[in-house]
């Protein structure tokens, strides 16, 4: 019974840091490439830090200078991105706590903050183990004293027997009550109060304020690459928002669309400094462009910020995307009622079951109305359900191609009208985007 009680609770996997059981995956649109940076788990601190960079199609060959910095130490290396798939690099960590991973190509820079966590026992565990160890020692000592014939020694047997009882009761009680004691905090963890939702209405006791987005696109002309700078500031204090955590394997999901919805890009701007994100973009359609950015602040849910920018110049012909064999089926679309879109992916006429997870799931659907005011991001249903309850350490990364052929998305939209939508999935390290339109009819009163 006691042995059962003493089984250590498994250390919770850290979602937004690296630990002996958790990797950190972040998509980064950087230096002309769509990369996924995977900071691998750290079984030993100090020890090696393995960083994998997964390159997606098309690859623009670059040499990445990668460095990891902690309070007093730095380790750096170089990785050449020249083909599809995984590129590996070995750096080092010397301590638990806050770190920054910096990627650099010429004057372009991406800074990824993360924490290295080292699990350790909780304070009460020392007490429980110490108590049981003391009980064992007193038992042996008491027996030893009792068998010795000298009365001066034998007198120590009874008090030790009493101490055995005290030690067992104290550590046994602590062990039984341990489920109500604070769990062990890993070394290097952020000092955060344990917070529970209000049982009355589910409101979060903390929860961070909303954010504002400022978009800057200098000299944006069709056909020419330009830099889009996004500044995220706190709605209450006005300070840069720098508590963004990994949300669906990215710090920020950015959707850029022109007003008509002919051009679409789902990318992941890199953090260049506190609250500042940047991305390079080339537009083919002039006019007004919409910016929808989704991210999650620490101790809060995800949020969407929007903005727009203008592109001058002449319209250029659209780039023809590589055709993917996808058959889309949409159930009857009625406002306020669930709509299901099923995408069946084929290769050479046969159903494809080698799709890769991208951003933590098999597929994404983005839907927007004509005005850009309504924006939906729908997750693929089957892969999300399969991932639930799975050991976080066993969640496959993007190199495991075992999803598909059917991608299922269910969602509803509030008002009738015409919507532009895109289904996205990954296969062979290429991200496929399938545009389509949905006409939603008036619901029954």
């Amino acid at each position: 019974m006691l042995a059962f009680l003493l089984l250590l609770p498994a250390a919770p996997a850290a979602a937004h840091g690296v630990s002996p059981t958790a990797d950190l995956q972040l998509a980064q649109s950087f230096a002309g490439n769509e990369l996924t940076v995977v900071i691998r788990r750290t079984p030993a601190v100090p020890g090696p830090l393995h960083v994998d960079v997964i390159a997606h199609d098309p690859v623009r060959p670059v040499t990445l200078q990668v460095s990891v910095r902690e309070l007093e130490a730095q380790s750096s290396g170089v990785v050449r991105i020249d083909r599809l798939g995984m590129h590996s690099l070995r750096l080092g960590v010397t301590a638990a706590g806050a770190h920054e991973l910096t990627l650099r190509v010429d004057d372009e820079v991406a800074v990824i903050p993360f924490r290295v966590l080292v699990p350790g026992p909780a304070g009460w565990e020392y007490f429980v183990y110490g108590g049981f160890a003391a009980a064992g020692l007193f038992t042996l000592g008491g027996i030893a004293c009792a068998v010795v014939r000298r009365p001066g020694v034998r007198a120590f047997a009874v008090p030790q027997a009493a101490l055995v009882a005290v030690a067992i009761i104290a550590s046994g009680t602590t062990a039984v009550l341990s489920k109500d004691l604070p769990p062990a905090q890993p070394r290097g963890a952020l000092d955060q109060p344990r917070a529970y939702a209000d049982p009355a209405d589910g409101s979060a006791p903390n929860g961070r304020p909303y954010a504002n987005l400022t978009v800057q696109a200098a000299n944006a002309r069709t056909g020419e690459p330009f830099r889009l700078v996004l500044r995220v500031t706190d709605g209450n204090t006005g300070r840069p928002v720098d508590d963004v955590v990994a949300h669906h394997a990215a710090l920020m999901h950015l959707v850029l669309t022109d007003q008509a919805g002919n051009e679409f890009r789902h990318a992941h701007p890199v953090r260049t400094g506190p609250g500042v994100y940047a991305i390079e973009h080339t537009a083919r359609t002039p006019g007004r462009w919409f910016v929808h950015a989704e991210f999650e602040r620490a101790d809060s849910g995800s949020q969407l910020v929007t903005g727009s920018f203008s592109v001058s110049g002449r319209p250029l012909s659209a780039v023809k995307p590589t055709p993917a064999e996808v058959r889309l089926e949409t159930t009857r679309a009625v406002a306020g009622r669930p709509i299901t879109v099923t995408a069946r992916v084929s290769v050479d006429g046969k159903p494809a079951s080698d799709l890769q997870p991208w951003l933590g799931m098999a597929g994404h659907l983005v839907i927007r109305d004509r005005s850009g005011a309504y924006f939906g991001h729908v997750h693929e249903l089957t892969s999300m359900a399969a991932a639930q309850g799975r050991d976080p350490a066993a969640v496959p990364d993007e190199t495991v191609a075992a999803e598909g052929p059917d991608l299922r998305f269910t969602f509803s939209v509030p008002t009738p009208g015409r919507y532009v939508a895109w289904v996205q999935f990954a296969r062979g390290f290429r991200i496929h985007t399938v545009p389509f339109q949905i006409t939603v009819s008036e619901g029954q009163p």
């Binding site: 910095r69 902690e70 309070l71 007093e72 806050a98 920054e100 910096t102 009365p151 001066g152 007198a155 120590f156 009874v158 008090p159 030790q160 101490l163 952020l190 000092d191 955060q192 109060p193 903390n206 929860g207 961070r208 304020p209 706190d234 709605g235 209450n236 204090t237 006005g238 300070r239 720098d242 508590d243 506190p274 602040r297 620490a298 101790d299």
Partner: protein, 136 residues
């Protein structure tokens, strides 16, 4: 020695040993007075000594070194408290140099208990943020 006296002595001795063990454990576990809150950027390493992490005016000391560990002599260093969960921002306090790389600040950084951040501005727009738990 009578049987009773032996027994009393044995109990007393065991008690003394137990008390000594508890006292040593306490001395090893506790007893930290001045806590340095450390943080670093790609240019500087800082150590912030807040004395007491409490609301109201406090005396704080800041030690700034460059990445090579040499004292950094800067002008116009400011400190400001920010409470992200409540959306509170405090006005900036200006630090005065007391020795090379050492700066003193007096003023209110925190207005309520909870998780705060001290934003240390080291000239221009270079900032380092230090998390602080305010307990009283």
């Amino acid at each position: 020695m009578t049987k009773t006296r032996r027994r009393t002595l044995a109990i007393a001795l065991t008690g003394v040993v137990l008390a000594a063990v508890v006292a040593i454990a306490y001395a090893v576990g506790g007893g930290e007075d001045r806590v340095a809150l450390k943080a670093a950027s790609d240019r500087y390493q800082i150590e912030l000594y807040l004395g007491e992490q409490r609301t109201g005016p406090i005396d704080a000391e800041l030690v700034v070194r460059d990445t090579g560990g040499r004292p950094a002599e800067l002008s116009g260093i400011t400190l400001a408290g920010v409470m992200p969960s409540m959306g509170h921002a405090m006005s900036e306090l200006t630090a005065t140099a007391t020795a090379p790389g050492r700066y003193a600040v007096r003023g209110e950084l925190f207005t309520m208990t909870g998780q705060w951040e001290v934003v240390v501005r080291l000239g221009g727009s270079h900032e380092i943020t230090v998390p602080v738990t305010v307990t009283r």
